[in-house]
């Protein structure tokens, strides 16, 4: 009986927390399925089941497919390239001893305190210049946004990555070196596969972070076609706040497909991915 009491309150807390976590998502589902598609007619529980709202996304009122592709391409490329950049730097910090190592580590720690977007005014000024010189990397182009995001990559993840790499025993890469592997082979064939799951989690978090990035993208992407989901969908609700609500909810669900499925897929590595760097230092 005592055990039942001990366990029951735990379930009660968990259920309450789940209810809190899920009810806004419930509301989104209900809004997306709502045949009227307006904010005023949306209730917490679905009042109907219609796919009209999804249809609106693809009827040409807004280039939703463009936005989706822009977002996914920018987020995938910046997650992948950013990961490679920071894990390479972390490899150097974790495995090699060189002059300036300590200073380098400390400056990375310092730099990661300053989010890149604080310099938004200067970024705007710099890229006004860049747009004139190299239109491919300027405003309204995904490549410009991509290289800009890569500028923040080293600061954000390197310290965390170094923590992961430090957990891989040095003896492993030493034996590889003994067998004649170069530092490049050790890096790509030994180290990267060993920290693979943690890298996947970090890449996923960076992917989700980029999908959600609004501040810089909103300054950068002004043409309707060039927008990302965050900027484009924000515009959907600015134009027709009440009547577009259903379509917006439908778009939210479609956007959630890549992020939530990645999350569920990598679920069991997430805790170690989030804490390893912090706990191990």
């Amino acid at each position: 009986m005592k055990f039942l009491r001990e366990v029951a309150w735990r379930h009660a807390v968990a259920l309450a927390a789940c209810a809190f976590a899920v009810f806004p998502i419930m509301y989104v589902v209900s809004a997306a399925l709502n045949p009227l598609g307006t904010l005023a007619s949306t209730e917490l529980l679905p009042t109907g089941a219609s796919l009209d709202n999804f249809g609106i996304l693809f009827n040409g009122q807004q280039p939703f497919v463009n936005w989706f592709l822009n977002s996914v391409v920018i987020a995938l490329l910046s997650a992948f390239a950013g990961l490679l950049i920071s894990v390479a730097a972390a490899y150097a910090f974790s495995r090699m001893r060189f002059r300036g190592r300590r200073v380098g580590l400390l400056s990375i720690l310092l730099i990661q305190m300053f989010p890149q977007f604080l310099a938004i005014v200067a970024i705007f000024i710099v890229f006004t210049e860049v747009t004139e010189l190299y239109p491919t990397f300027g405003f309204n182009k995904p490549w410009g946004l991509l290289v800009l995001y890569l500028g923040g990559a080293l600061g954000v993840n390197t310290y965390l990555m170094k923590g992961f790499l430090d957990t891989v025993p040095k003896e492993i890469d030493e034996s590889a070196t003994m067998d004649g592997a170069s530092h490049v082979q050790t890096f790509f064939r030994i180290i990267l596969p060993l920290v693979g799951p943690v890298l996947a989690v970090t890449a996923m978090l960076s992917f989700i972070g980029t999908i959600n990035e609004f501040l810089i993208a909103n300054v950068f992407l002004r043409d309707t076609e060039a927008k990302t989901l965050a900027v484009g969908m924000y515009g959907m609700l600015t134009d027709k706040r009440d009547s577009n609500f259903g379509a917006f909810a439908a778009a939210t669900l479609l956007t959630a497909i890549p992020t939530v499925s990645l999350f569920l897929w990598l679920q069991k590595y997430i805790v170690s991915g989030l804490t390893a760097g912090a706990v191990k230092g």
Binding site: A17, A21, F114, V147, M178, A256
Partner: protein, 546 residues
């Protein structure tokens, strides 16, 4: 991938020394010395050669792409930087030495170009008045004033106009109606064009080196065409419509002798180097000014200007309140849920966990907008469930609402990391506390919580830093509102970063980049101070640096 020049017994030292190169890098040098080790097999693999060719071609491609626009723009300093950087990169990846640098350079290049340079530039901009009306140099301001004052006077020459392009830049092809002579007008001035085909109506049909823009396309660019002007001695050529242009006289003229702008009526606007404006005796200034250094004026304005400083202090206080309560509430709820599920007899934790991380996995920008509409007074869910109230229209409920939204978004993250930290707390310690007669609360308070806090302090600090600048939450849910009736630039829930964004004029309104940069500098300083203090304190608890 690549096999470097590898000696048979290259790994003579298992640990790379503090400053020495990695073992395999030593062999070529030993080989050159020609001592007993020359018998070593020096294997140059295809990978080695291919990687070097790839490096060289990437560097060459970069130069070919990046150099010409800089040459054309005559930005010699930028060209020099580009040359030095590409040369260094090429050297670095061709030589077998400097191994750590090979891994560090890619990130560092991006970091310097797109994070450090903008940050430094922000500090520089904070000491200027850059913004609308103060965009360029004084010479550019003079040109802008002169050309914008161009008016058509009786008897001024007229031309037939054809819009063309050369190298992507707009060109006016001008045909003199009397002589049929064709001239090309660019932003730099006029130059004659030979061998152009001109129709009977005076339209240029073809001209060597120029691409004629079809009328339909030209019509779409009418704003650009109207703004375009070709400077001439004593005036400028401007378009009227799409097919005619006239040479007008500048009404205002710069006089270097008095460093002022004069118009024919004898009015004078004198250059004010402190303000970056041309000012007349009545104190009125011309619209176009130029960028000047203003010293600490922007900082002073934030702290002492009565229309700004009061709000600035409020924003600052709310910014701290928001960041601290965001961390505290998410940590508390995350801890409660993690503790509840951290028990061997609780079944179904996997399912709970999937449901609990959903807010973290959903696209946050969209969910923030959904929350905004849930708070909608007339139709929102909150009004339906808890009674009609203008949730985001009154400062207190708007602030509480933001903290609630942030709690929803942030507690799954805290739940996940606390679960991880709880699993790392040795069971012996909690058992020992229980056996010694500690109540569950005391056991948690004295044993579990300190251990969890030590492990999570760096994450809590970065969470504070993140929420201190949580632009998305504010921007999407309240956009800084509600606003006081007498002040439309700063609202009750504005954070410094959303305030900066508005002052910089990215949404609409007048851009004041200098002032916006000054606020950014304040944020930099605050975040740096808080983080440094926090890291120092946590460093005493545990060595987090290595």
């Amino acid at each position: 991938m690549t096999t470097e020049v590898a000696g048979a017994g290259g790994a003579s030292s298992p640990h790379p020394g503090p400053s020495g190169p990695a073992p395999e890098q030593r062999s070529p040098r030993r080989g050159q010395r020609g001592d007993a080790e020359t018998f070593r097999r020096r294997e140059v693999s295809t990978g080695f050669i291919v990687s070097r060719i790839v490096v060289l071609s990437i560097v060459a491609a970069l130069l070919i792409y990046a150099a010409p626009p800089l040459v054309e723009d005559e930005s010699w300093i930028a060209l020099g930087v580009l040359g030095v950087v590409t040369a260094l990169v090429a050297y670095l990846y061709l030589t077998p030495r400097h191994v750590p640098a090979k891994y560090l350079v890619p990130g560092t290049v991006f970091l310097i170009a797109f994070a450090i340079v903008p940050t430094v530039l922000t500090f520089v901009t904070a000491f200027t008045n850059l913004g609308d009306g103060h965009r360029g140099t004084k010479a550019e301001a003079v040109t802008a004033i002169e050309t914008s004052s161009v008016t058509q006077v009786p008897g001024s020459p007229e031309y037939h106009l054809t819009i063309a392009e050369r190298d992507g830049a707009m060109v006016f092809l001008l045909v003199d109606p009397a002589t049929k002579a064709v001239q090309a007008g660019t932003a730099d001035g006029l130059s004659p064009v030979d061998g152009a085909q001109v129709s009977l109506t005076g339209k240029v049909l073809a001209a060597g080196g120029y691409t004629i823009v079809p009328t339909a396309q030209a019509a779409e660019r009418d704003a650009e065409i109207a703004a375009f002007s070709v400077p001439t001695p004593g005036g400028a050529i401007k378009a009227t419509g799409l097919s005619r242009a006239f040479e007008g006289k500048a009404d205002k003229r710069y006089d270097a002798a008095c460093d002022c702008i004069v118009n024919p009526a004898g009015e004078k606007w004198f250059a004010d180097e402190a303000e970056g404006y041309f000012v007349n005796s009545a104190g009125a200034h011309l619209d176009q000014g130029w960028k000047v250094d203003v010293g600490f004026a922007n900082f002073k304005k934030a702290l002492t200007d009565p229309t700004i400083s009061g709000h600035f202090l409020n924003v600052l206080i709310w910014n701290f309140v928001f960041a601290i309560s965001a961390v505290a509430t998410t940590f508390a709820l995350g801890m409660v849920v993690a503790l509840a599920l951290h028990h061997p007899r609780v079944r179904g934790t996997k399912l709970y966990r999937v449901l609990l991380v959903l807010p973290y996995a959903m696209p946050s920008f969209a969910m923030l907008l959904i929350w905004r509409d849930m708070f909608n007074m007339d139709f929102g869910l909150m009004s339906k469930l808890f009674g009609v109230h203008d949730w985001l229209g009154t400062p207190t409920t708007a602030r509480l609402g933001l903290i609630l939204v942030n709690l929803w978004m942030g507690f799954p993250y805290m739940f996940l990391v606390i679960t991880g930290a709880l699993q790392a707390v040795p069971k012996e310690l909690t058992d020992a506390a229980r056996i010694d007669g500690a109540s569950p609360w005391a056991g948690f308070r004295r044993v579990t919580l300190p251990l969890v806090l030590v492990a999570l302090t760096p994450l809590l600090i970065s969470s504070f830093g993140f929420n201190f600048n949580n632009f998305n939450n504010i921007r999407m849910v309240t956009n800084g509102g509600p606003y006081a009736i007498d002040n439309a630039t700063v609202g009750a829930t504005d954070l410094l970063i959303s305030y900066t964004y508005r002052v910089a004029g990215f949404d609409s309104g007048v851009a004041d980049f200098g002032f916006a940069a000054a606020i950014s500098v304040f944020i930099f300083t605050i975040v740096a101070t808080v983080s440094t203090v926090a890291f120092w304190r946590s460093r005493r608890q545990e060595e987090v640096y290595s």
